[in-house]
Amino acid sequence: MTLRSFKKLAAVSAVALSAAMYSHTAGAAAVQSGDPTTVTTGATVENTFTVTVVKTLDFGTVGAMTDPTDTATFTVEPDGSDTFVDDPGNGYLGTDPAAIVSSEDDPAAAANITVAGFKNVNIWVTYDNFTDVASGGDAFEIQEVHDNLSTLNCAGAAITTPTNGSATLAAPASPTIGLGCTDASGDMDYLIGGTIETKVGAYGPYPDGAYAGSFDVTFSY
């Protein structure tokens, strides 16, 4: 009986030892001198970022007058905290009758665009292709665009009050470009205000109605 027990123990031990010597680590590649092992590498190109128009630029409800020699302007700032009339006019047959007045019941509001992309990078912002804010044959001119780029604390220059051309004024020699940047989350919160101006014409009020216009805003690295 003693002899049989000894034989079985020896057989189990020999098998276990053999298995341990032949095994490799799971997931390992056996390496032979002079034999190549092919491995992978890669890269990811991401050329796009997400632009979301949260709110368009809206000058609200205004009353406006034209005259043959004078113009009036109305401005909304990017943070929406200030709207003002640059030229309120001085009445019929006055020396400066052109005017714009703003309704408190439907105030102006700046545009809000969010840009999401890489973290902490500069974003160039270009304005171009302006149209008038028009209804039929009556129109206001987009005289200026104001934005919040200077408040973003970006490395590099930022424009504060750019001047743009319109469909009736001479176009600028080059598009207006400013520099913004994304934050540590990869986001840029971009606010756009602007100034509209009455056009020179026969004295009288602008007809009631909805006036619309546009301009292009391009974001790039």
């Binding site: 032979q32 002079g34 590498t41 890669g42 990811t44 690295y221």
Partner: protein
């Protein structure tokens, strides 16, 4: 029990014991050659990025110490680049693994070549080339273990063509000599 019976049992026991002892010795002899292993901890990866201009070749350089240098016209994205990392086991002990050894006459001590790069590609888009492979030239320890770090340079085509957004992949060969 008679003397003759007793001696027969004893001789049988000796033969069986010898058989079990021989098996492990044979196994040990066959396992000495080709026991080296390599496990990938992480692949060499040039990260996520955007490029501003491809009118001339632009580069991303990854060093074996994991530092990354970007061309001014390549914008680092939200996924960082990283060096390749490979765990080596059961290599000859106390051996330096030199990089870029000359073949077909490899060194008598350790060496590694990094060759046959396929480039880094995405179907129907421009490709990146891969070049200037470097390593940390590790020295295996007394057990024959070491960690191999791999760096390289990625270069754009510089031909003005666009790179599509997407994941680009490629391969290269690692060959050891010891």
């Amino acid at each position: 029990m008679t003397p003759s019976t007793k001696s027969h049992i004893f001789s049988g026991m000796i033969k069986k014991i010898a058989l079990f002892l021989a098996i492990p010795l044979i196994c040990a002899y066959e396992n000495t050659a080709g026991a080296a292993d390599m496990v990938q901890i992480q692949s060499l990866y040039f990260g996520q990025f955007a490029y501003v201009d491809n009118s001339v070749p632009r580069t991303i350089v990854i060093a074996p110490d994991d530092t990354v240098t970007y061309d001014d016209d390549i914008i680092e994205g939200n996924i960082p680049a990283r060096r390749g990392e490979y765990q080596l086991t059961d290599f000859p002990p106390n051996m330096m693994i030199h990089t870029g050894v000359t073949v077909p006459t490899p060194p008598t001590d350790g060496g590694v070549t990094l060759t046959n790069s396929s480039g880094i590609t995405l179907p129907a888009s421009e490709s990146f080339t891969l070049s200037n492979f470097t390593t940390n030239e590790p020295i295996t320890d007394g057990n024959g273990d070491a960690t191999l770090y791999i760096g390289a340079t990625l270069t754009t085509s510089g031909n003005g063509q666009n790179y599509d957004t997407g994941s680009y992949t490629g391969t290269y060969d690692i060959t050891f000599y010891f």
